[in-house]
């Protein structure tokens, strides 16, 4: 009785062991899925404000235990999501890496541009077009507002312009009085 149960358990253990061993080979995961998940949460501005050269390196650092509050463009919502994913406490944004500012885009004052291409080289997302000795301009839709092009400009002709809300990006703000109020009820 004892023997048979031992044999049965042993066989079961063997069978599961084999199954697991096979599964480990068959369903091997390349890379670190956690890094991908973290990377998907980060805003992909590639601004380097976190101290890493881009969003993916920071995602890798987070996966290896770095703080989750170093991303100013992502702001509170990103920290919240990261905290949820990593199972850690959400903490306020680390001010050492910059403030959570309104979204901005770079703007080149085109008649002052001397066509040095320095900003083009600095742009992490190829959002600046132009050629040597030709005027450059920013593709506003592709600009992440990372600020990296401002410093290299020799004639300081790049401004970071705050993106004003449009009617498309505007949100109902109920703290603001009657504006946007929806009257709903008819007194009958």
């Amino acid at each position: 009785m004892l023997l048979s149960s031992l044999i049965a358990l042993g066989l079961l253990a063997l069978a599961f062991g084999l199954a697991l061993g096979y599964a480990a080979i068959r369903f091997k995961v390349e890379g670190d899925p956690l890094v991908d998940q973290v990377d998907a949460i980060l805003p992909q501005t590639q601004c380097g404000q976190c101290g890493y050269p881009g969003c993916r390196p920071y995602a890798e650092a987070i996966a290896n235990g770095d703080d989750i509050n170093k991303c100013p463009p992502g702001g509170e919502s990103t920290i919240k999501e990261l905290a949820e994913l990593m199972g850690v406490e959400a903490k306020p944004l680390d001010a050492a890496h910059g403030e959570d500012a309104a979204p901005k885009v770079a703007y080149i004052r085109e008649d002052e541009c001397i066509g040095c291409t320095k900003c083009i080289q600095a742009c992490p997302v190829d959002a600046i077009v132009g050629a040597a000795k030709q005027m450059h301009t920013v593709i506003t839709d592709a600009c992440t507002g990372c600020d990296l092009c401002v410093e290299p400009c020799p004639v300081d002709c790049i401004d970071m312009v705050t993106v004003n809300p449009t009617t498309a990006s505007w949100q109902w703000d109920f703290n603001q009085t009657p504006r946007g109020d929806i009257p709903v009820k008819v007194i009958s």
Binding site: D39, L42, P43, Q44, T45, Q46, G54, C55, S77, D111, E112, I114, P124, V125, D126, A127, K133, A142, T144, P154, V155, D156, C157, N164, P165, T166, T167, S169, W170, Q171, W172, F174, P178, R179, G180, D181, I182, P183, V184, K185, V186, I187, S188
Partner: protein, 823 residues
Amino acid sequence: MPYDFEQIVERIDQQKFWTFPGGVHPDGRKHLSNQTAINPLPLPKQLVIPVKQHIGTAGVCLVSVGDKVLKGQTLTSSPTPFSVPVHAPTSGLVSAIEERTTAHPSGLPELCVVIEADGNDTWTELKPVADYQQQTKSSLINAICEAGIAGMGGAGFPTHIKSTARKKVEFLIINGVECEPYITADDRLMREFAWQIRKGIDILSHLIEPKVVIIAIEDNKPEAFKAMQQVCNDTSSIRVVQIPTKYPAGGEKQLIQVLTGREVPRTGLPADIGVMMFNVGTCYAIADAILHGKPLIQRVVTVTGEAVQKPQNMWALIGTPIEHLLSQAQYQLKKQKAPAVIMGGPMMGFTLPSVEVPVVKTTNCLLVPAKQELNLNQRELACIRCSACADACPVSLLPQQMYWHSKAMELDKAEEYNLFDCIECGACAYVCPSEIPLVHYYRKAKAQIRIQRDDKDKAEKSKQRFEARKARLEKEKQEREAKHKKAAAARKQASQPGTGEEGGAKDKVAAALARAKAKKAEQAQATESPASASPQPDDNKAKVAAAIARAKAKKAQQAEAPAADPQGSVEDERKAKVAAAVARAKAKKAAQQTNQDESAHARDAAPAEDERKAKVAAAVARAKAKKASQSGQPTETTAQADDDSDNREAQRKAKIAAAVAKAKAKKQAQADEQAESEPQATEHAQVEPTEEDSPEAQRKAKIAAAVTKAKAKKQAQAAEQAESEPQATEHASAQSAEEDSPEAQRKAKIAAAVAKAKAKKQAQAAEQAESKPQATEHAPAQPAQEEDSAEAQRKAKIAAAVARAKAKKAQREAQHSGSEDNE
């Protein structure tokens, strides 16, 4: 499909309908405004036409400020299909194209064309489509698009897009339900213009070829029903039906459900279930466009509510300010607690940010409620979970669940409860005993979710671009390495078959000799060239010379950096001179063709090539100036922060700036020796441009100068601060400030002069300016002489930018050195 076509038609013929879940029965109050005929509105003085009045993309303005436009003239066009143009609603003058507050709850400004009416109301040439049945469908659809017709029921969906659907349509439903309280615009339109609506329906059925046309009218509008029946009794393919009054039966999906029993899939369109729907107002506009060639420039607007004396319907031109309509209806402000005008009905409308906003294509109603008419100030109480909202919801959602999650900003959960299927009809809020503005929460949550989605999309795109760039850089690096390797291999191969080691060494020696020779020769040239005043014959040589001079300057600077203050400044001067010389050499090479006369008028527009060279020269000079000030400043300021050194520093900077400016200005002139000797000879480089007659050029130069001056002033102030700080410990800071202020002024002036001198580059005054380096401290810089060519302007701009950048950098350094002193 639960019911097939025949069954549905049979039911409709028996006046039997389906129903949608929920719904409410608010007091209609339509009698207020539906008693009188649609009144024409007197022409307003000014019309504001928003460029985008539909769902989709905005067009590009075709007119500019000052243009005269005729009534019906197209104002915008767009290459994308998801767009309709807007038209001038009357003849007049385009007085502005600017951002104005439009009919959006946010009150955010949007681009508008402002037209001052001339009162003549002159039509542009109208192009009606003759005999539309003979035309191709695409040309008709094009005509509809050109007329700027967007759905007039409220959403503003471009009609031409809707009518081009390829799917087979069984039911063409004409929506005359108008279920929202107060609104009677469609009601009056059907009563008075039934025949034209019928024509529009004919055009649409020609385009869409439905099996049957159904005109649906709520049973609270018997007159409209009768009128439509009369104009449609000649054909059996059009059925006019009366449906029971229930809000929101006029919603597209609800009306389809009522008439056909079919439900539009949540991600689909009505066309997916063989239905297409148009508003009666849209039909009217289509008839206008095709039969009369008139674009959509007016619409019926109901102005109602108890705070207006004469509630009525009006024909309002698109772009008419709301004010104008209100005054016509005799708006009585005192009947309201606070001025509030609602665009749309009481259930789905929104309070307008101002009464100056214009009527747009989707404006069907202006509701001006009196004090006790509408419950505007809702006291929101806690949700008691009564589920009345769920019973009222026409889309069978769970409003209270969505409310909880929306309020807590748990957006994903709100989405799980199908928040995006909410049609924002307001039925839930209408029945809520706690007076919770439920739709508010849904709208807010929806906007938030949309923004988050956009952000995610953008992040994804940025990531792709970033990765593409990384891959590209990597590839380029590898290619470069491969090339280097190849080149190295080639060199090795070339050296091996020769005399081996010895030959290689010989080659090297020879090369070194040649280099040294070239250097000597060019050195001579470089030093001579400024003095000789003769144009360089060879571009290449000049370039090489410049490069060498540059290298030398750098070396000298490096060696002299730690040198003592007075010496340092002298050497700095020399460096600046070298820089100037280099710049000059370059500039001269570009100016070979110009005459030798010192005061010659080099007025010919310089070729683009010369400009470019001048730019390069300026850039070189700039780099030098930067370096000189970088190395010079710290040593000076740390050594001695007295007035004298301030002066020297300022002089040096000024001289460098002047040199740069001069190099540019003299591109086509000579007098280089003078320029060179000038900084040495004079203490205060003062450029004194001569006057010129072209006021335009003067103005531009002045602007450039002013900008530069302001910047230079700022810099001077910063420098002053930085320098006065160490003094302040010993002397009264007031004194140092006083001492510095002339200096600051001087700096500003010099900078201004630099800008001006640049602007003058084609004028003969450059030499004069140099030969007259006065010590006058407060001599005002006179307006620059300049040719009013675009080229000169551009150069002036470049000069201004350079001066600005320099000023900024100098300021930064000054601050830096100041803080060093403090430490």
